[in-house]
Subunit: 282 residues, 6 copies
């Protein structure tokens, strides 16, 4: 599990009290659901919390430390999709020279070693995956390993965290209330412009002025969602634009490949985004 | 099966005569169907009955005791879903160094050792799973193990218990009458406020006043079901709110993450729940 | 096959000439289709006929007796469903230390040993299962074992019997005429009240008066089918009610869990059944 | 393949020139498609032709005789369905102590040994099965065994014969023209009453008068197809009725189980058939 | 691959410049798509071209000759269907006594040995099959063998040829432009009457007069397509009719089984075809 | 991976600043999405960039050179389709004489060795494939190998490039925003006539005049898209026409097989294209 430990402090800029909320939930070992649009920072936030809570555990108890002396709280991330089976998560038998051998899956390893298990886009998961998390998220904190006929008790440090983007949710892909009501939920949105400018500047190495311009551009492009754009520009795309400019590409051309062409195939919407770019970027 | 024995008395607050009904059915070995909304306590009730009936068996007959002297009535819980196959339940052949070896599934072990077998959300099960329980639930009390060409007689202590939430039932996911008419049914609902307050207080460790407030809040939020909320707040979510408050989070903020954001993605419904929270929680 | 022999006379109360019809068909080795609602006694009837015809075979010919001197006519029951494959029925190869080994399925064993093979709810079977019975049900009386490239001639005592509930049959799940016209058909319905009272009394051990009341209740509840109840109360549910009363539960409460809550989730229909219960049960 | 040889002359009553048509097609090795309703005698006809053509081959050429001196023309019958794979027909690898071993499927054995291969209800077959017969039915007369990378030339005696019931054919289950135009087609219908009476008498052993009555009944029941009956009574059902009467069952009761209840679940149609029975059977 | 070499000159009657077009495409190694109705001679044409181009290769270069001195250009024909997997075509691992062994599929063998690979009814193929041919049909001429992580360069003689019947093509089963634009296309139709008469005479051995009559009949039956006939009579069916007449069957009866009953199940269309037969055939 | 290195400079004619855009993105290791119609040169462009960037890496750093002294930047191309599983890409266990052995898939090899991984027609990929690329395309640059429980860090040279044709995109087959916003996007179209003529001349070896005529023809045929043509003629088809002319086929006939018959099955559209051909080609 060494590979899953977050070694250095991830860059994360809190927007509200999300760090306090997650810390409180973790202290109570209450599972957490993160909701928010694409690229608003949910994944980065979980990485940050895994790093931060490992520090806190270190302070609280000297026990359970790694060879390097740190308390470990590995972060196991699984991107959910409809072809991911319960066996992929829990484990399976492999044929060996001397018969079959059991291999723990990533969920089993996370449960045993006391990791934060992060199921990204959980609404994409199959039913057998979703059901797996039920006994992990109530007072039992158990993972049934049906193929072995056994039950694993979660390590005391273990926490389950899941996420999804409520804008995609349809009747077909929805969390059932019996799953949903096992989590507290924290809602995310894009950061406010002054914070987003900070993030762009830090992540791309561009000037403060350029970062501020791109943050303003982000706000304006996101407003186009009311005109049919499926999803606004993520902070990541704004950083891409800044990095292409760093490579010497003209600012508007960089925005064209990072925002206009990237966000949609619809000619009219592309025209609208291009006009926004033309108005904001010199 | 030792791992499935309920060792200590689970906390369960009876609401009506459900303990007597289940005891009577168990004495007659009549299979039981539990109906009710998410988080109303069905799972906890079955755990409690497994513990209580084991006590009763101990009194009635000194025989069949475990090494520790108790009569064992393990509780095997299976969360049903559409990818759970009959083989997952009954057992399968595994390839070994010397050929194939048979591994009993959890249903087979429950039938052999005389457990309470609890199939949670049974309407989610596949047809081959549903059909498996037919000979277990009539005068035969048999589990056919078709892959081995054998038939297992259920231990005398064995009982089948299933549950589902009638609010989700659709034409597609329904118990066929030929399955349904093998069970007596007990209907559950959320506990009345004074009992729910007791539960919240005991499970979260909060003050009686806070527990009473949260129980009142639960009733009001559940009334929003008439305005489109898919499912009311479970007792579990109310306990989550209390536990977050114990961590020092402001009461309304705790309710926002535990109830408002958790229950729905719909902005209007969130607004309605937030107003209820604002009116009840100071 | 010893496990599938019906050892003691099953309790069965004939309603009309169904015993004579089945006996005539068996003497001619004409396959039989049983039609009727849930819980009207089809399964019990087949068990009774397997026991009775074994007696008759004993009288007709002294040969083919078991170690205990009886002529054996085992009863192999298979509940059909859409995930039951031809391999599950006919047999499959298993990997062994010395290669692959063939294991006969339950249908193959029934055909070889001369059993009554009872396919319950045959309309739920997959096409490959349905097609398997064609050569078994005409003048050929053969079971092709395609995976082995062989053909098995049915033992002279073998008979195929199938059942289904015509109330569920839809366009999607229907016996094709080419399958259907291989059987004579016997239609079943709930027994008349005086016979049903006998059955309730015998199976629950309750008083004659209580049995008579419950039989009257059964008739009245079944009349609610005209008001939307999917399927009437089976005799089994009436027996459940009697057995719960034996446990000391109040009569109306026993009827509530065994009939009202058990038969439907619909509040209005529950109300109607409860009114019928209130009118009939004191 | 000894098991598939038709040893004794099957009883078959020709209705028109179908024997000459099939003989001509066989002499030219032109594949044959048989069309007709359920139970009109297609399967029996193919058995008869396999027996008859084996006699003719014996006369034409002394070569290719079996140990018993007969020319063999085995009949391999396969009931098609949507779960029958190309591997089931052509063959598959089985794991052995020394690696994998190839097992010929029934189609491969029929092609190699020069059998009549009869695919019953061919429209139910999967696409991969249907496509297999293309190179077998043109000038190539080849069976490609793709899993082994080889091609098998059909024995000179081999002929493919397929059948289906045109009344079931829907847009979804249809022979593509590229398949269909590889066959000449012979259409079958129920035999005329005087021939059908002969068949009933011979197959049931009943009196000529009873056979004549049942043949008349068959015609009248088939006329009900215009009033919604999905498929008329097959000759087989009429023979069942005669055989039940032989067992001493009353004539009308025998017709009820063999015709009325057997043909349909529809109460009105059952009433219509019962009236026809009442008018014809005393 | 010896088994796939076309040994003797196939009988093929060119209708237009299709031989020159295919030769030109082959010389440039441009993949070829053949379009046309059922039984118009596409398969025979490819066989002929494989034979003819092998002759031409022999003249052009003395190298690459077989033991018999011929240049080999095997023809590997694969009938596409929705259950044919990429593994069936490219190859798979088989378990052996000493582990797994790789077996080349027919496509891999064709690519390696420089064959004409003919994918019949390519629109029936699955997506993974269709995609396989992309790198084979551009300047790369490569077959990626993903399961082995390798790439095979096509032999210089290799050519891909595919076919389909445009009359069946639906929105669901269509070649994507990215696949389609990798081929030049040659359209086929039924041969003109004087050529078709030649073919019928040669293939059936009937008289010139009878062949001419049947060719005229073919034209008239094909005109019925405007009246709802799904597909006209193939030349093959006309040859079948001639061969049945050779067996002594009456001409109109031969046409009935080879054309009327064979082409359709629709009573009205059968009547129309029969009338055409009656007008043309004496 | 030697087999995947682009050895000689591919012929590529830049149309705009696409080489600079890709170079800038590569220097920043920003994943690239190429959009454009069939046959407009996307695949060729990626090959060219793989060759060109390998040169640039060679200049920038002397390290990481191949035996031949070049810096290697292999190009691994995968045509996506709905039957390509995550295991096909990442790797799988194979059974060996001594148990199971892991085989890296092409994606894993590309990630390890620092290749350009090109996923062609990425919208055709299954969900489990699409999700695989998420951690590869953000700051993590990781490939999780779930079946082994490990995570692979991408080599510093690695870049992911994907493509699709926006004209096919439907609601069913669409990149989710959470996937899409991980790429900058470059839009391609057919080259302008003077460039396309250069390409045709170079690739076919025809005269400048003929190439110019064919390029003009291409423009006119593409205009027919407004009249229902699904997709315009690719440059490849124009080159095919030129090469067939080189073989001595008449110009209009070459255009008929390479453009008219190839582009569509619709008779009216074929007529329109033929008229365009007649007007442009003498």
């Amino acid at each position: 599990m060494e590979a899953f430990v977050v070694r250095s402090e991830p860059y994360y800029r809190p927007v509200a009290d999300e760090v306090e909320l997650f810390t409180g939930a973790y202290n109570q070992r209450i599972p957490v659901l993160l909701k928010g649009p694409t690229g608003c920072g949910k994944t980065r936030f979980v990485e940050y919390m895994a790093w931060k809570l490992a520090r806190q555990l270190h302070v609280v108890s000297g026990q359970d430390t790694s060879p390097s002396g740190d308390v470990q709280l590995p972060l196991v991330t699984i991107a959910c999709h409809e072809d991911l089976t319960a066996s992929d998560l829990v484990g399976r038998y492999l044929l060996d020279a001397t018969g079959t051998r059991w291999i723990d899956g990533p969920m089993t390893r996370a449960v045993k070693t006391g990791a934060i298990l992060y199921l990204d886009e959980v609404v994409e998961a199959r039913k057998d995956t979703t059901v797996l998390i039920h006994p992990l998220t109530d007072h039992r904190r158990l993972l049934p390993v049906e193929k072995r006929g056994s039950v694993i008790e979660a390590d005391d440090r273990f926490l389950l965290c899941v996420s999804y983007n409520p804008r995609y949710q349809s009747a077909l892909k929805d969390l059932k209330p019996s799953t949903r009501q096992r989590f507290i939920a924290i809602e995310f949105d894009y950061p406010p412009p002054h914070i987003e400018a900070d993030i762009i500047q830090r992540e791309s190495g561009c000037s403060a002025a350029r970062a501020e311009t791109l943050a303003r551009l982000g706000v304006k492009v996101r407003n186009l969602r009311e005109h049919g754009l499926q999803e606004g520009a993520s902070t990541r795309l704004l950083i891409y634009a800044a990095r292409l400019m760093n490579e010497g590409l003209p600012a508007r051309r960089a925005c064209q490949v990072a925002l206009v062409w990237s966000l949609t195939d619809d000619a009219e919407l592309q025209q609208s985004i291009a006009e926004v770019v033309g108005a904001v970027v010199e």
